[in-house]
């Protein structure tokens, strides 16, 4: 279930809900009808019910559900944990790490992407290094992070930022390269200089593409913050989940996963929401281009 949620966080920009034909400006728009709300709620409830069934009946069909806690046990454990300060501290720790890492990645990634796309010198200087570093999974940097930083806290933020950094760089670079030269020419012939072009053309024009990278980056950041916490963390939801596993508190493990899933959903939703607000100028999707009803 956790994996699913993180996946959705990563790819959610590509399958955003259809807007219908040209919503009036300022109208709320994109509000789901009761039918689709019902379907969505039903799907989550069905998944929970299925889990309850499989674990409650201790199904053993090659896959072994007998050791896993049921939905109700997990809910019970969650209710207990929500009442403790420790749960919220762990949540806050993970959230702080991810937001800090993500913010660093967003700023540095966008800057690098623009630089590499706009300057041949920057491309020649940074490009090869970036291409060599990019295939290294951020989580493989744990030993380096431990050696490099004075504390684990900075190390985890470093790993999270590195994970989110590359998707942002790559998408920014592509988006900036794909910009229509007409807009830049327009600003130049209206008397604008390089900074104008950067602020009025490059950044706003590349924003839809950058947001795609930010969405993916947020998904990867969660994967890495949790893994890093499991490997080397003190406190944090990943650390707690692993702790629960080592003391055989299986409902606790599942509570950790559910919490990660919910937080991932919320942060991905926030990126999506900000993105939509900033890109209202995109031409409205037509019914034909988005609605895909099997």
């Amino acid at each position: 279930m956790t994996v699913q949620t993180l996946d959705a966080a990563g790819g959610s920009r590509t399958n955003r809900p259809e807007s219908g034909p040209a919503p009036a400006p300022g109208a709320a728009g994109r509000r789901l009808g009761w039918r689709r709300r019902l379907l969505r709620t039903g799907s989550v409830l069905a998944a929970l019910g299925l889990w309850q069934l499989l674990t409650g009946l201790q199904v053993r069909l090659w896959l072994d559900f007998s050791q896993l806690p049921t939905t109700l046990q997990v809910a019970d454990s969650l209710r207990q944990q929500v009442g403790t300060a420790l749960y919220w501290e762990d949540l806050g720790d993970s959230l702080r790490r991810i937001l800090l890492g993500f913010l660093l990645a967003a700023v540095l990634g966008t800057a690098t992407g623009v630089l590499v796309a706009r300057s041949r010198t920057a491309e020649d200087l940074l490009g090869p290094v970036l291409e060599l570093l990019r295939p290294i999974p951020a989580i493989a940097l744990v030993p380096v992070a431990i050696l490099l930083f004075p504390g684990t806290e900075q190390g985890i933020v470093f790993i999270t930022a590195t994970a989110a950094y590359f998707p942002v760089v790559v998408s920014t670079r592509h988006a900036v390269r794909a910009l229509s030269p007409v807009w830049e020419e327009a600003v130049l012939t209206l008397g604008g200089g390089r900074l104008r072009v950067l602020a009025q053309v490059v950044l706003p024009g590349a924003l839809p593409g950058i947001l795609g990278g930010l969405s993916v980056g947020m998904g990867v950041a969660w994967i890495c913050v949790i893994s890093a916490e499991m490997l080397s963390g003190q406190y944090g939801i990943g650390y707690r989940t692993w702790q629960d596993y080592t003391v055989v508190d299986y409902p606790g493990v599942l509570v950790g996963m559910v919490s990660i899933g919910l937080l991932g959903r919320i942060t991905a939703g926030a990126v999506e929401l900000v993105g939509r607000r900033l890109t209202r100028w995109l031409p409205p999707r037509t019914e034909r281009s988005t609605a895909w009803t099997p």
Partner: protein, 258 residues
């Protein structure tokens, strides 16, 4: 507010138009020249239309005059001085999609004024005046995507002229419009340009448009650039005059040859 600002019509630009020139110029991108040995003089304040087949280098010529493309050899000048880069004095109007889609209509028209550092109130005022001038007084808040193609070109026109440039370079500005809208835009252009002294270079592949709007027509492609005087510029009734018709035939014949 709209009626108030619309009443304060744009001030007539006292600055004379630029004289633009090309001397034995080779134009194009490095390694891919499109035009060679171009000699052309655009007189201050005139409206020169440039016709030629598609791909003959009309846009290249315009971008060179705008300062976006350096000449590969020879020189491009404005008032006798070499053109070294783009400048607010030489505004460019594009065929389509030249507006910044993330800026409102007003934001687009205010852009050259903002670049020049004008205050907010002044910008608003001038932009509103020009939007009224091009017939869109109540669309200031809209995003470009909510306008029709013709309306977008009106906004581009307002944006190009609001900064009082000394030359306006137009790259098939009405090429993507339907015949009727194009006719309206031609009238609007004539009307609006009547208030400025700016030099205009107007690129088109439509010979009739070139004959209607231009003081002179420049023929591009196949050999040296030829310029021909238009009998009675910007007179819609002149299209049926014998001298216009024979000029039209002459242009069409030379386009066929090139």
């Amino acid at each position: 507010m709209d009626t108030l600002t619309a009443a304060s019509a744009p001030v007539t630009d006292p600055r004379p138009g630029l004289a633009l020139g090309l001397r034995r110029a080779e134009l194009g991108r490095p390694g891919a020249p499109v035009l060679r040995g171009v000699d052309l003089d655009v007189r201050p304040g005139e409206l020169l239309t440039v016709v030629g087949r598609s791909g003959c280098g009309k846009s290249t010529l315009l971008r060179t005059l705008a300062g976006l493309l350096p000449t590969l050899s020879g020189e491009a000048t404005a008032d006798g001085a070499a053109i070294t880069g783009p400048d607010a004095d030489r505004a460019l109007v594009f065929q389509e999609d030249g507006l910044l889609p993330w800026r409102s209509v007003r934001g687009n028209v205010e852009l050259p004024l903002a670049i020049r550092g004008l205050g907010r109130a002044e910008r608003r005022d001038q932009a509103a005046g020009w939007l009224a001038r091009v017939g869109l007084p109540d669309r200031a808040r809209d995003l470009p995507q909510r306008l029709s193609g013709g309306q977008r070109q009106r906004v581009q026109l307002a944006r190009a002229l609001v900064g009082s440039p000394r030359a306006v370079l137009m790259d098939e500005p009405f090429g993507a419009l339907d015949a009727r809208t194009r006719g309206e835009m031609q009238l609007l252009l004539v009307d609006v340009l009547g208030e400025t002294r700016a030099t205009v270079v107007f690129v088109t592949h439509d010979v009739d448009e070139a004959l209607l709007l231009g003081d002179r027509v420049a023929l591009l492609g196949g050999g040296p650039v030829r310029t021909l005087d238009v009998p009675s510029p910007r007179d819609p009734d002149a299209a049926a005059l014998p001298e216009t018709l024979s000029l039209r035939e002459q242009i069409l014949a030379s386009l066929r040859q090139s």
